[in-house]
């Protein structure tokens, strides 16, 4: 698929003239440029399709009410305004929601990465009867939809207890619904959002590391855990970056578990699913704007768009900083078996 190598180093002038005369040369050149053109159009088109909703949201969020009803305004607002942002900022209690989400996502990311890197290493290195069966269990956790185990999990965390210990001390099992504990516990025990996939990535990666490296470390007198910490982990950094980014982002966006475990919208994803309602209550209760605003579906939709933009904005900013490293690390992370 390397068409661009057709033109090598500049040939001597006579050769060049000869080549200009041959049809094969022109055929090759046309083929090359046609492919470049097609490729450009395809990439540009798909990039546009991907960016379109984001651009649209940016455009909407800067619009004012008068622009909404102006049929000549489509993309560029006539009067730029930051009012939408201010309103969403206060109505959604943005700073505290942002801090909650950052805190939760980072904590889950760290716990998940630690558990999964350990499990992945274990699965790559243990060999005994039944180890294949254990790894099949990892695949099984990926395949079973979370809806299937949703109700027992919910009831588990609603009446949380470890072998009757909590009941012994407190008199009743703890209710962990509406706290962050369900997320932290499932992350630490490797059963959070898409955790099976992370174990799989790490296991594939560690299988690619030659055993001789570890054996050399043993010969030099390093213990098992020391070898893991000093030799194996530093090598695993590319795949760890991949998993950390995935787990941060997927926790940030996860609406399934957040809506299930949290009654109040404390984090971004549950905030987004109820942003319309929150803003409407704020507007009618706060008394800052006329109640007629909340009746206006256009206005509410504008608010929703602004709030979604504000919810994904931190992710996009983080992505801008890490994307180069991210793509490179995936290529070297052993995501490929």
């Amino acid at each position: 698929m390397k068409t661009e190598t057709a033109a090598g180093q500049p040939p001597a002038k006579k050769e060049w003239l000869e080549r200009l005369g041959s049809t094969a040369y022109w055929f090759e050149a046309i083929k090359k440029w046609a492919w470049i053109l097609v490729r450009f159009v395809l990439i540009f088109g798909i990039s546009f399709v991907i960016l379109y909703p984001i651009l649209l949201k940016i455009s909407i969020s800067f619009k004012s009410m008068s622009d909404l009803y102006d049929p000549t305004v489509i993309w560029i607002p006539r009067t730029f305004t930051l009012e939408n942002f201010k309103l969403v900022f206060t109505a959604m209690n943005y700073p505290s929601v942002l801090m909650n989400t950052l805190w939760l996502s980072s904590a889950v990311m760290l716990l998940q990465t630690i558990t999964c890197v350990l499990a992945g290493y274990g699965f790559a290195r243990i060999k005994f009867r039944g180890s294949g069966f254990l790894f099949a269990a990892v695949i099984f956790t990926i395949l079973v939809p979370s809806q299937t185990i949703m109700i027992p999990l919910y009831l588990n965390f609603k009446n949380f207890d470890v072998m009757g210990l909590i009941e012994l001390f407190r008199g009743s099992p703890a209710n962990l619904i509406n706290t962050y504990w369900p997320f932290l516990i499932s992350a630490a025990l490797g059963m959070g959002v898409k955790t099976g996939l992370y174990v799989y990535i790490f296991r594939q990666f560690f299988r690619g590391i030659p055993r001789e490296i570890e054996e050399a470390a043993y010969v030099d007198g390093a213990g098992y855990f020391k070898t893991f910490g000093r030799i194996i982990l530093p090598n695993a950094i590319p795949s760890m970056v991949t998993v950390m980014l995935f787990s941060f982002v997927w926790q940030w966006n996860d609406s399934f578990f957040t809506n299930m475990y949290l009654n109040e919208p404390k984090v971004m994803s549950s905030m987004m699913s109820s942003s319309g309602f929150t803003i409407a209550t704020y507007l009618t209760g706060g008394g800052q704007a006329a109640a007629s605003y909340t009746q206006d579906p256009f206005f509410m939709s504008m608010m929703m768009n602004t709030s979604v933009l504000m919810a994904i904005l931190p992710l996009i900013i983080i992505y801008l900083f890490v994307q180069r490293h991210f793509v490179e690390s995936v290529e070297r992370s052993g995501l490929v078996g």
Binding site: M1, R39, G122, I126, Q147, P152, S273, S301, I312, V336
Partner: protein
Amino acid sequence: MKLKKLSLEQKNRYYGLYFILPWFIGFLLLFMVPLISSFRYSLSNLQVSNEGFTLEYIGLANFREALFSHESYVRMLTESVINIVVNTPLIIIFSLFFAVILNQKFHGRVLARAIFFLPVILASGIIASIENGDLMQSVVRSANDMTGGGLSVMKNLDLTIMLLESGMSPIIVEYLTGAVSRIYEIVSQSGVQILIFLAGLQSISPSLYEAAKIEGSTGYEAFWKITFPMLSPLILTNLVYTIVDSFISDQTSRLVVDTAFKSFNFGLSAAMSWMYFGVIALILWVTTALVSRKVFYQN
């Protein structure tokens, strides 16, 4: 110490077990136990109260209710299955194609990759669901259509007529034009798949292509004889990933959640999710059985 007497190999085994221990506890307590109790719930009438919950065995009544008397379950289930069957091949072909393109050298490749992986960051059921029911977006979209800008480049109607007149089968035409109008859905679901394919492309040794070039193969031949077989294990991986990924955010799973937490019919919801899982497992089994026969492994 007892461990001292074991050989290195044997030691490895036991230490390996320590490494997987946290995961294993989680697997037992947060996966196996809930899975079994979920199955029990699907066979019973579950009443939740403040003190806890009570179970009353009612046999297959929940399954019967979901299949025969629920107003929308069967319809949504069929729609979900059709969606998966239709979208999965499109996503695989699309992501393979663009992975190959993004793997070539051209100006702005870094930027193009950054944009193509944005869906991985933004892919989330909730954003998509807000998008669908959104008034402003549809207003701007229709304004765009009127002025001829934006996404109306894909004028499906003319294309359909043209293809039909050129003698293509209506089913294929419908599939292709449907793919064009669902392009955003497909693009936003193929971020991870592109990433996996791209990583696979990077791991193919360039010497294979050099050898093929010396033997006089064209880019087209090189793709089908080298790239495609070398990537075939990843096609299987991506197939499984796509199918699994698609049931996280689709309407049947939303119905399952709503049945549990809006109408508080936990038993029915468990029955629904078990049948859903059964259907998905069947699809996965059939696809892996069909595809893995064609997969080429290097070793």
